[in-house]
């Protein structure tokens, strides 16, 4: 597999080798960066009694952001609806909201010419059971149903932030255990992605809509948030970010087309390897989580997102409208720079990069040059596990050498972690089956059902 993006000068915001057309006239990766807005409910119960109010709130939110997008003459608008658990478990509820959103979006396209599309992201509820059932049972059934219903009710793109492997990774992150994290990502996560995205691509192709992409949110972003609270080292979070790339790549191998999910900060790698347009978030999503990659995350984005914000009132307007406005101005700046020349776009990209890169290893691994170097190594490996192994190894190598050369600052108490991670990566088995056998023999095996990931249990071997 060779990279979709061959050189640094082609690695730009707004441009993707495989652009996507979706919804009502919306194009991603064709030269213009588009704002992607996501919103959620304020603190409230969701039940029969409050359901009319839930409907009213979604109608109010979508109307607010569309109205402002039209007033600001946004170049287009991608709206993401991420369901809440109750709306996946009871898919009819999810469907109702999809319909409300789609109706408003159609209206704004017709009345105001606002190009737009609706991305629906059912919340992955399969871990409501413990251990999780990934491929059957009531939670899977309801979620599968919601995909179909969303496609029928007006979704233009389907996404998910799938959680296969999370059972194993949550503990691993707390204990800073990279080996167990990689087991969760590359063995369990990648297998679940294969199953899930095969299914999702099927649903989309029947409905003639776009299978967009997944996010290693439950892994990479959990690590990022823990690192931001100084609970785990940033170097570890940075390595986990890169190690999550092969898992997220599986979606594209199975037929997903992008744009990737906003909170998939592994996006630049996905774009470099698979050529798909990517959605990113950074300072724009400070409302959802604080970050150390606020600018650099924007460097090669095709859609620019706020991640999520509740319908709470700020002094000016509701928070989703505030987010929308900020995204539109950010996109204006990028699109204005790019309208000058490719050199200008590169210049802005590089300022976004340089303003963050040296301060945090999590930013460093998002440098376009670093991304291309590591992506190339990932692309040469045949399986998600081997890709993940090399991804982790390259990531810690890049960090270590940048730190040695004085180009990247690593805080004193993190320095011993560089050697620790190098050691752990070096000890990862060369054979996937060996790795699986080893992990199945530890208490980790009690946390998940091997069959749910297509893995034969030790007993049945």
């Amino acid at each position: 597999m060779s990279l979709a993006i061959g050189s640094l000068s082609e690695f730009l915001f707004g441009h993707a080798p495989r652009p996507v057309s979706c919804g009502r006239g919306l194009e991603l990766g064709k030269g213009t960066v588009i704002p992607e807005i996501n919103f959620t409910l304020p603190a409230m119960d969701i039940d029969e009694a409050t359901w009319p109010e839930v409907r009213r709130l979604y109608a109010e939110m979508i109307e607010g952001v569309c109205k402002r997008a039209a007033e600001l003459e946004a170049p287009g608008l991608l709206v993401e609806f991420e369901t809440l658990p109750a709306m996946t478990i009871r898919p009819e509820w999810g469907r109702e909201i999809v319909e409300i959103l789609a109706t408003c979006l159609h209206g704004y396209y017709e009345k105001h010419g606002l190009k737009n599309a609706l991305r629906v992201t059912p919340n992955d509820t399969r871990d409501f059971l413990s251990p999780s059932h990934m491929r059957d049972g009531q939670y899977w059934e309801a979620m599968a149903q919601l995909f179909e219903m969303s496609a029928a009710a007006g979704a233009d793109l389907l996404s998910i932030e799938s959680t296969g492997g999370k059972e194993v990774c949550d503990e691993a992150l707390r204990f800073g255990d990279l080996r167990q994290t990689i087991f969760g990502l590359a063995i369990l996560g990648a297998r679940d992605m294969e199953f899930l995205w095969k299914h999702l691509v099927g649903v989309c192709s029947k409905a003639n809509i776009v299978p967009a992409g997944d996010s290693a949110c439950a892994f990479g972003n959990t690590a990022m948030v823990l690192a931001d609270q100084k609970f785990i080292p940033r170097v570890l979070a940075a390595v986990i970010r890169v190690a999550s790339v092969p898992r997220s790549l599986v979606a594209y191998r199975m037929g997903a087309a992008g744009p990737s999910k906003d909170c998939a900060y592994e996006g630049p790698y996905l774009k470099a390897i698979a050529g798909v347009p990517i959605s990113m978030e950074g300072r724009s999503s400070a409302c959802a989580h604080l970050t150390h990659v606020g600018n650099i995350a924007q460097a090669v984005c095709d859609a620019w997102s706020n991640e999520s914000v509740q319908q709470v009132r700020l002094l000016s307007a509701y928070a989703p409208i505030v987010s929308l406005e900020q995204l539109v101005y950010d996109c204006r700046l990028m699109n204005t720079a790019a309208a000058g020349s490719r050199e200008d776009a590169i210049r802005l990209r590089d300022w976004l990069v340089e303003s963050d890169a040296a301060l945090d290893p999590q930013a460093w691994v998002l440098r376009p040059d670093v991304v291309l170097r590591i992506a190339e190594r990932i692309a040469t490996e045949p399986t998600p596990y081997l890709q993940t192994r090399v991804a982790a190894r390259c990531a810690i190598e890049e960090i270590a050498s940048a730190h040695r050369e004085g180009r990247l600052r690593v805080s004193p108490q993190e320095i011993r972690w560089i050697a620790k991670i190098e050691r752990e990566v070096a000890q990862l088995p060369g054979q996937e089956s060996e790795f699986i056998d080893e992990m199945l023999a530890t208490p980790v095996a009690e946390k998940f059902l091997p069959g749910e990931y297509g893995i034969e249990s030790v007993a049945s071997r």
Partner: protein
Amino acid sequence: MTDLKKLHQAILDGNAKASAEETAHALVAGVDPMTIIEGTMIPAMDEVGRLFECQDYFVPELLLSGRAMKAAMQLLRPLLAKSGAQPVGRVVIGTVKGDLHDIGKNLVASMLEGGGFDVTDLGTDVSPDRFVAAIGEKNADIVCLSALLTVTMPAMKTTIEALERAGVRNKVRVLIGGAPVTLQYAREIGADGYGENANAAVALARELGKGTLRP
């Protein structure tokens, strides 16, 4: 005494195997169990706590040291009189109904354990009834409720109301936390405390354990 220095180091390193080995050596050499605990293990864990507070240690190091301490204690506990082994407090913890997020809750649970609490973790999506039942079974002093979604926050209130109806509200202190939760909200629903992050939650549990704090 050289051996006990090694035990000290094993706990600092979070090395459970070495910690158990060194403890076994010390016992064989005839060191009194209370001397091992009070002279070495407690000072070692205090040191770990200090390193964590000044941000030299991260959570994994804190938790691994806790594991190393536990491994040593497993050898020592049978040799101790029952009286000395009181936990700092008994905690029941869980993510409220409708919410599946558990990383924050798990972090708090393991840090509480490391801090000497007896912790019962009910997991995620825990109904008010299960909280009520667990309080009775475990004779808990503290209940920790976690929520990451704005739409599951109201379940914290429902849970506290259930504790009241079941007549156990006065027996326990209720501590709440999670991204959307605020001190304001804790007051509104009549919780006893609010932890802004895992550190704060554990510190607060300690305070509540001493029975000194009401918000």
